[in-house]
């Protein structure tokens, strides 16, 4: 994991990422996101003119190496899902670059975008609305193959059967309809659909949050196993920190459209630097009433992304806020370059990161 917001352009990954695809062999960055912004206009007035904008994603940068998992954490409304949609180009970003193997998804169009779509697939949150209720499971999984005209119909059907076996459903389920399955089984179908095109990158937008806790671990283990077997790279979006701890290599914490802290999963969990990260970690329920809570809970509500507070977006809710927090927008700064690997640097966007 590198950070590009402040002087990260000099790191080896970002130069390689900007260059030819051949330079990206062997664990280099598969996905590089630079200064991604997703602003929605707020219209009003008599003529419906633009009177403001919702800054759903406001300058997000990160990079991700092949075979790794980035856990993207944040509370509701912080822009996680918008980021996912920008990464899969379901929405066109307002600004910034999304480099996949050096090709910019954010500005691609036509045939180039169509080719890129094969490489990046998405797993959706709600297994009840993510499968078309009027198509059979076989049709649902086969459709990406049909859209991309990969192989004959028989080959496609064979692949569908293999995929169903892979995700732990029988190959004889092809003719069934989604409503005949449970939530966990439906999510497995969603996973199979995402894998149909053999993508390199899978964006999972809260893939287990709609499932029962007992089923969550099954789907998570399936995803981890598939990653190992197929060398997949995941962007794993969730609000559940225990899930992140289980699946991720690196973690990025989002607050109000920005990444406030990112780094290797063990460092983030062991020594969180940003007050918001600390608050999130404190909020994990611990089944021990004697354990002391040393951080006061976060006060107030998330501010509106239409008019984010000046300076650090977290300062109205932060216990450690000082006057400077109101005026200075903190950038991601390296906490400690643990080891020789700058890609896994622990960074935080807080001017008091070393004090608190």
């Amino acid at each position: 994991m590198t950070q590009n917001a402040s002087g990260g352009g000099s790191s080896p990954e970002s130069t390689a990422g900007g260059g030819a695809g051949s330079a990206l062999q062997g664990g280099d960055a598969l996905l590089q996101v630079r200064g991604l912004r997703m602003h929605y206009p707020v219209r009003g007035g008599v003529l419906g003119g633009r009177i403001g904008s919702i800054r759903a994603v406001d300058g997000v940068s990160f990079s991700l190496r092949k075979g790794e998992t980035l856990g993207l954490v944040g509370e509701s409304g912080c822009g996680k899902s918008t980021l996912a949609r920008a990464l899969t180009r379901l929405e066109t970003p307002t600004a910034g670059r999304v480099l996949f193997e050096g090709k910019d998804i954010a500005s691609a169009s036509g045939a180039e975008l169509f080719r890129l779509r094969r490489e990046i697939q998405m797993i959706f949150q709600d297994p009840y609305s993510s499968l078309n209720p009027r198509m059979t499971v076989g049709e649902i999984i086969r459709e990406p193959l049909a859209v991309h005209r990969l192989g004959t119909k028989e080959e496609q059907l064979g692949k569908v059967r293999d995929l169903l076996e892979t995700v732990g459903l029988g190959a004889d389920m092809v003719g069934r309809y989604p409503h005949e399955f449970s939530g966990g089984q439906r999510q497995r179908i969603g996973v199979a659909r995402a894998l149909a095109l053999d993508p390199k990158l899978v964006i999972a937008d809260e893939p287990v949050s709609a499932l029962d806790v007992s089923v969550q671990s099954q789907v998570l283990n399936l995803m981890v196993r598939l990653q190992r077997e197929r060398g997949l790279t995941y962007v794993f979006i969730t609000h559940d920190l225990s899930v992140v701890e289980h699946v991720s290599d690196t973690v990025a914490i989002m607050y109000l459209g920005r990444i406030v802290e990112q780094g290797p999963v063990d460092q983030i969990f062991r020594s969180p630097a940003h007050p918001y990260t600390r608050a999130l970690l404190e909020a994990i329920p611990v089944p021990d009433p004697r354990q002391r809570k040393d951080e006061a809970p976060v006060k107030g509500e998330t501010p509106s992304p239409v008019s984010p507070p000046p300076g650090c977006p977290f300062h109205p809710r932060c216990h450690h806020a000082i006057a400077e927090c109101r005026s200075t927008v903190p950038e991601l700064e390296v906490m400690e370059t643990s080891g020789a690997d700058p890609a896994h640097a622990h960074t935080a966007a807080c001017i008091r990161r070393h004090e608190i």
Binding site: T88, L113, R118, M122, S130, R134, E143, P144, V147
Partner: protein
């Protein structure tokens, strides 16, 4: 293709619809009526279905046969026999020949000489005509009731009592024919207490012979089995049952064309609006609202003044307005469906817009349209009937329910109740059937039903 095969939701809905008996049977009845109306030329037509003449079958539905073909006499004013055969008259003439053949056979005994003489005299006694259930086409006027007694009277005055008897018997006036045959008719007519005018018309008016009491009346004539006007005739002597059937045929197909057209156009435009959204949606929506505010009836009146209204012209005018309502449904449905995750998934693997609209969105968005359809059909039938009633509908001789209602409501026809009951009864039955169907469809498609365990 996914929408050709029945998916389980549709199947479940259809099953539920079938279980709602009231709606299902209404649907079957209406469907049967529609199918029957397609075959109206075999149900209500003045041409015979089959003519069996001297050992050969003829099918006048498909071919034109002149009166000469069956040696039928032309009407008195016409000298030649190259008119088309009058099949109902032919049927009665041949029945009469059969009757006379049998009667004379009974009088003469069945010696071979007598048989061959009778065969020569009545060559058509073995021929027969099969008429459709309603032996009248919707344009044919029947003034028989007004004229038959005069014709018999003329023959009687001319001293041709045999011809008079045959004519009366041919047209099913058995009692009259019998008294003519027995010679009692002269005494009856001569009695001023029974016939003040001294002819058959007088006899009919006093009611001394009940079987002819209803004759000598100008149309509209009451329902009667003798002339096979099951629902009577209208003021031009045309058969009401036949006109009802053809009127239903025209209006149901009008309604079907209109509904199909407006639903296809409304679906396409509404879908595009909802799918594209944004500025296109806002602008096109305003255009539609302007279009919607044009008063429909005035457009029809203006068009009817400029052009002769025809089936297709009326269909076009109505279609111009009908589809707009559909777009509202489709637009909102598409807005809702396109944000569902299965649609996002399709976009994320690069499915084309057409594929997303037709394979993913439309099958899921058409539900309100289906529940709306029965009511759209009945609304179309009623608007055509209303236009016909107002006189802006299909031109004059075209059979239509609205025109029948118009006749029924004329002041001189107020006591001719069959004219009122027939079209209003047909309208009521159609309305009730369609409402039953619509209610059941709505109930079968009710998403709340899925929330329950069955």
């Amino acid at each position: 293709m996914v929408w050709l095969r029945i998916d389980p939701i549709t199947r479940k809905r259809f099953e539920r619809f079938r279980r709602i008996k009231r709606g299902y049977y209404s649907f079957l009845i209406l469907l049967a009526a529609m199918v029957l109306s397609v075959f109206a030329p075999y149900l209500a037509e003045s041409r015979a279905l089959i003519v069996w003449h001297q050992g050969l079958p003829y099918f006048p539905t498909f071919e034109y046969y002149t009166m000469d073909t069956f040696a039928q006499d032309p009407p008195p004013a016409w000298g030649m026999g190259d008119l088309e055969t009058e099949y109902l008259r032919l049927q009665r003439e041949w029945r009469l020949e059969g009757f006379l053949y049998d009667r004379e056979l009974g009088e003469m005994g069945s010696s071979p000489d007598a048989l061959s003489a009778l065969d020569a005299k009545y060559p058509n006694h073995g021929s027969f005509v099969v008429m459709p259930a309603i032996p009248w086409d919707p344009y044919q006027s029947d003034f028989w009731s007004n004229e038959i007694l005069n014709e018999v009277d003329l023959l009687l005055e001319a001293g041709d009592s045999e011809g008079a008897e045959h004519l009366a018997r041919r047209d099913g006036l058995e009692e009259l024919a019998d008294v003519i045959y027995s010679g009692e008719v002269r005494a009856l007519i001569a009695d001023p207490g029974r016939s003040p005018t001294g002819d058959l018309k007088g006899l009919a008016r006093t009611g001394a012979m009940p079987s002819i009491a209803g004759l000598g009346v100008v149309p509209p004539n009451a329902p009667g089995w003798n002339r096979r006007h099951y629902l009577g005739t209208d003021s031009q002597g045309r058969d009401v049952a036949s006109r009802l059937l053809y009127g239903f045929r025209i209006s149901i197909f009008f309604a079907l064309f209109l509904t199909i057209f407006s639903q296809v156009v409304g679906t396409v435009i509404g879908s595009v609006q909802g799918y594209v959204g944004g500025r296109f949606d806002i602008v096109s929506q305003r255009v539609l609202e302007v279009l919607l505010s044009i008063p429909f009836l005035y457009v029809v009146i203006i068009m009817a003044a400029l052009f002769q209204p025809s089936f297709w012209l009326l269909l076009g005018i109505m279609a111009l307005f009908q589809w707009i309502g559909i777009t509202f449904f489709m637009r909102t449905e598409m807005y809702r469906e396109k944000t569902r995750e299965y649609c996002l998934a399709a976009r994320s693997y690069g499915a084309s817009h057409l594929r997303i609209i037709f394979r993913h969105l439309l099958p899921n968005a058409l539900t309100p349209l289906v529940t709306f359809t029965p009511f759209a059909v009945v609304a179309a039938i009623f608007s055509l009937t209303a236009l016909d009633y107002l006189g802006y509908g299909l031109p004059a001789p075209t059979p239509s329910w609205g025109e029948l209602i118009d006749q029924a409501l004329q002041i001189e026809n107020r006591d001719k109740l069959w004219l009122t009951f027939a079209p209003f009864g047909a309208l009521t039955i159609t309305l009730v059937l369609v409402v039953f169907i619509g209610e059941s469809v709505r109930e079968a498609f009710d998403p709340k039903q899925y929330a329950k365990y069955e």
